[in-house]
């Protein structure tokens, strides 16, 4: 069964550095999402992406964040200048169509900012 993959599984970076988290959604899916989960807290929506543009973003998704689909397979989340509070698990998800369909999640990337 096809799966969403994410790399790396764990990323350690210093405050102020740029990080790029990578995701490969399921190949025939059209809608892509990033969520994050700070340790001990709920999974929070960051951004949704469809047809090569952001369709919705949360308050968390400020100017430090950007997303890109650089080719037909990868979907990336960039944090331009990381802060300590960006430390979290970041999940990528994809779905074939937006209405009521299952979102398939990747295994997550644990980002640790020191």
């Amino acid at each position: 069964e096809p799966e969403v993959t994410q790399t790396p599984s764990h990323q350690v970076t210093q405050m102020g550095q740029e990080v790029i988290l990578r995701c490969v959604p399921i190949s025939n899916h059209l809608y892509f999402y990033w969520y994050r989960q700070i340790l001990g807290q709920k999974v929070e929506f960051l951004v949704s992406f469809y047809n090569n543009e952001i369709s919705e973003k949360s308050e968390i998704f400020d100017d430090q964040f950007s997303v890109e689909r650089p080719d037909g397979s990868n979907f990336t989340l960039k944090i331009r200048s990381t802060k300590l509070e960006d430390s979290a698990m970041y999940f990528c998800a994809s779905t074939r169509t937006v209405v009521g369909y299952e979102q398939y999640f990747g295994p997550g990337t644990r980002l640790t900012v020191t």
Partner: protein, 109 residues
């Protein structure tokens, strides 16, 4: 405001006991609700959705619009049910899911 509340962080039961994981939502429209499960060291995966009214791994959930609840139930818990369970609301806007805080279910032998 769109919100999902799971009041219990941890629910511990013995094998064979009934289980009910509570979920309440706040949403003014007609909601679509889901339960996702995360087994240890695995990814979030869909357990069930209210529109399909199916039973997966013995779990069921009924949408109660009057009480704005979508509680997850299983009559006889198994040890392999131990996991984190997340209730999620799809508010029909752009596809995002709004998650509750999650309930850790621990089924003891």
């Amino acid at each position: 405001a769109q919100r999902v509340t799971q009041p219990e962080k941890l629910l511990s039961v013995f094998k064979g006991a009934p289980v009910e994981l509570k979920c309440n939502y706040s949403y003014s429209g007609s909601p679509e609700l889901f339960w996702y499960v995360q087994y240890s060291r695995q990814r979030l995966q869909l357990l069930l959705r209210h529109i399909s009214r199916e039973s997966i791994k013995g779990f069921t959930a009924d949408l109660n619009k009057g009480e704005t609840s979508f509680h997850l139930k299983k009559p006889f818990a198994q040890e392999e049910d131990s996991a984190m369970y997340y209730c999620a609301l799809y508010p029909n806007q752009g596809g995002k899911l709004i998650f509750g805080q999650g309930t850790e279910l621990s089924v003891k032998p």
